[in-house]
């Protein structure tokens, strides 16, 4: 747990030399306890104090990157058990498992699936983040060639070397060490050899043990050997065990500051039936997995799982929002229609998507309503006639268009009269209630 100012003070040189910029060591200690400065500012602190203080100030769940490209993903670093308490920070990684026994054609097909998995949803680019390559052939040169092929064809995708055989792992790691693959995994039988590989090549290591007691012994041992970027697998097979053990791991790390389990979690959720697998993966995504390994990545499945992850990991205090401005859709002219909506991301993307579908160039005025949907913003007094009028006047849109017609969402039809009264010379038109009515609505208007 974090140390108090007084506890930190006891570990400082107590010379009050001021080199840190503070008048006394105690003042420095107090600032440090509040996170307002960093230990490195004191040049005289002892190695032993550094170790103790470093340990105490480390986040309860270790944080590091998987992969090295711009698509590298951050693991761990969570601080709460329930998303409403603050927020979940580092979205879980979805990885697909492929076996090295697949033919080159089959491997290429899988790689293609990963590379084309990217979907744009509510302004975020979402994709399958990693490939887990399973050593199933028993033949290390076959494994190496599969690893090579995948890393060449998908150079930016993070790799998990799913291989418990140290000699095969060593060969594979050597070919792609610069990519910082995750080596999965060290277990009771191979700890020394696997840890050495991870240490030599400076790559993160998966640790597997059945049960949390055994798992903590193993992570401590590996940490003692000098590898600290660990990902842990409790060996859970049933969904129930996964949920319970993930919960226990997260609680141990956060509430007890139990370091041996303060690592990101990996869950293999492989199931025969892809819809069933989607459900089990959903449990892992909601409850504490950092890496979820799947057996297949159908497009529909990705869409559902990406969306769930996006939902679980949004900030509960701040809805996702877009910038307030007049957006151009297509290439609008001075005669193009003008529509208005709120700046809740979901609302904006649904409306702008449908305006795009209509193929009618248009202006979309997006008004800052603190990220609330149309009706919520209206009920909260943020999307009122007065505020809309003010926004339209301030936005400068009057210089962009020659007509004076504003299309408002059907859900707030009752605002039309009040807006018309206050916005002189303007005609207010009530649009459809649902965004999917927009294409028909826009197309049927006289050009």
């Amino acid at each position: 747990m974090a140390l108090s100012g007084v506890e930190i003070f006891k570990l400082l040189p107590k010379t009050n030399c001021k080199k840190c910029g503070f008048p006394t060591c105690l003042a420095f200690a107090m600032a440090l306890a509040q996170g307002k400065t960093e230990l490195a500012k004191c040049p005289d602190v002892s190695e032993e104090s550094k170790r103790v203080l470093g340990e105490a100030s480390a986040p309860p769940i270790r944080t590091f990157f998987l992969g090295t490209s711009e698509k590298a993903v951050k693991l761990g670093g969570e601080t709460v058990l329930f998303r409403h308490d603050k927020k979940f920070f580092n979205p879980c990684v979805y990885a697909v498992n492929v076996k090295d026994t697949l033919s080159n054609d089959e491997l290429n097909e899988k790689i293609e699936e990963v590379l084309t998995s990217e979907i744009d949803r509510v302004g975020q680019k979402l994709r399958v983040d990693a490939i887990s390559i399973e050593f199933a052939s028993g033949n290390s040169s076959q494994y190496e060639s599969a690893v090579k092929l995948i890393s060449q064809k998908a150079p930016d995708t993070a790799i998990i070397l799913n291989c418990k055989d140290p000699s095969a792992a060593e060969v594979a790691v050597r070919t792609i060490a610069d990519k910082k693959p995750l080596l999965y995994c060290a277990n009771e039988g191979n700890t020394g050899a696997m840890t050495n590989i991870a240490k030599t090549h400076k790559i993160p290591l998966g640790v597997y043990a059945k049960g949390l007691s055994e798992l903590s012994v193993l992570t401590e041992k590996i940490k003692g050997m000098g590898v600290e970027d660990l990902v842990i697998d409790s060996g859970a097979e049933k969904a129930k065990d996964m949920l319970e053990l993930n919960t226990q791991i997260r609680r141990s790390a956060l509430k007890k500051n139990f370091k041996p389990l303060g690592y990101p979690i990996i869950n293999f959720v492989l199931r025969e039936d892809p819809i069933f697998e989607t459900c089990v993966a959903g449990i892992a995504a909601a409850k504490y997995a950092s890496i979820i390994v799947l057996s297949s990545i159908e497009k529909w499945k990705n869409l559902a799982l990406f969306t769930l992850r996006q939902n679980i990991y949004t900030d509960p205090q701040v809805p996702m929002q877009v910038e307030q401005k007049i957006y151009k859709i297509g290439e609008p002219t001075v005669n193009s229609p003008l529509l208005i909506t709120t700046n809740f991301s979901l609302t904006y993307f649904m409306v702008s998507g449908e305006v795009e579908n209509s193929k009618v160039p248009a202006y979309l005025a997006v008004m800052d309503c603190e990220g609330l949907s149309v009706l919520t913003a209206w009920a909260a007094g943020k999307f009122t006639a007065g505020k809309i009028v003010q926004f339209i006047k301030d936005s400068g849109v009057e210089n962009q268009i020659s007509h004076r017609e504003l299309i408002i969402p059907g859900q707030v039809a009752i605002l039309s009269g009040a807006i018309e009264d206050k916005l002189e010379g303007w005609k207010i038109t009530v649009g459809p209630r649902e965004a999917n009515g927009i294409p028909t609505f826009l197309k049927s208007r006289p050009a």
Binding site: D273, E298, W300
Partner: protein, 313 residues
């Protein structure tokens, strides 16, 4: 450092509730621990899934789910029998959507007959829902409660704007009752209090904090449910202890992901599986957050969620 399992001690529990008639009656709730965490408490009853049927042909459902019931959905009795006999439904939820002023405006008299017909055709427990039109539901649910007198149904939903009438009907005919508020834990709590102040036992109540579909506000429902469960279990807040309902199907099967054609959105993959996964994943999130009773539509989604529940207990 030796490892000690970090167990919590909880002071509260979810109330248990039984609906329907023996031998097919169903029990939900009763757990004294957070969802599926049986290492620190007991979970006497598994979550239950009710199949949704409607009093009129569901023209507004996407084709992929409509097709599952094409041969029976023109008749609520046939539809209910199909759910019970072929799909092995544990419970059925009859939504009287045809009573909505915009959907046919069926009279309360019509409702009584439909409810009676369905009740005499099946023996699994029945949930009877209005059309979510506050004023109309008040009269519809009164008629439904009376028609179902003696069947120990769940009726709903009582909302802020109509709860007095609906509660009185559930009370008079000895039914269980769903209290629904809109995504706000304080509103949920307040409505439960108002209802129990009318003399309605909290043991006969269910809370619907309002569902939302995956991608369309799911995170709000998820967190409100988690907070309700924490209040019930950790803080022993008796007003938050009724079982939770997740009315999943009606929110899921109107979002674009469940019906957009593959030619329009090829990057979204198969329309069939997409819809099923959308409903199943929404349901799973609700379960993990604390739902005890799900209302769903697609048989494949129901079957998969059931299978997942089996792996969770």
């Amino acid at each position: 450092m030796s490892y000690v399992i970090p167990k919590e001690t909880y002071s509260g529990n979810v109330l248990s509730l039984e609906f329907g008639k023996a031998p097919k009656s169903v029990k939900i709730g009763g757990e004294n621990t957070l969802p599926f965490l049986s290492f620190e408490g007991s979970i006497p009853n598994k979550p239950v899934i009710a199949y949704e049927i409607q009093d009129i042909t569901p023209d507004d459902w996407p084709d992929t789910v409509k097709a599952q019931y094409a041969f029976c959905s023109d008749n609520p009795v046939k539809w209910a029998q199909h759910c019970q006999n072929k799909l092995k439904a544990q419970a059925i939820s009859l939504r009287l959507i045809g009573t909505h002023p915009d959907r046919g405006d069926r009279s309360a008299g019509d409702v009584a007959k439909i409810v009676k017909d369905v009740l005499s055709a099946v023996d699994v427990p029945l949930i009877i829902l209005g059309s979510n039109h506050i004023e109309k539901d008040a009269s519809v649910l009164v008629a439904a409660a009376e028609a179902a007198s003696g069947y120990n149904c769940i009726i709903g939903k009582a909302q802020e704007g109509n709860y007095k009438t609906v509660v009185a009907a559930a009370l008079a005919h000895k039914h269980k009752l769903i209290a629904m508020s809109e995504l706000d834990i304080n509103l949920a709590k307040q409505l439960n209090i108002l209802i129990t102040q009318m003399g309605f036992d909290k043991e006969r109540l269910l809370t619907d904090p309002m569902c939302s579909a995956l991608g369309y506000g799911l995170e709000y429902t998820y967190s409100v449910m988690e907070r309700i469960r924490l209040a019930a279990i950790m803080q022993n807040d008796v007003t938050m202890q009724p079982p939770i309902v997740g009315d999943v199907g009606m929110y899921v099967w109107k979002v674009k992901e469940t019906f957009a054609s593959e030619s329009d959105v090829s990057q979204w993959g198969s329309i069939e599986e997409r819809g099923v996964a959308w409903e199943a994943v929404t349901a799973i999130a609700m379960l993990i957050a604390g739902t005890n009773l799900l209302i769903m539509r697609h048989p494949k989604a129901v079957e998969t969620v059931r299978k997942t529940i089996e792996e969770l207990v």
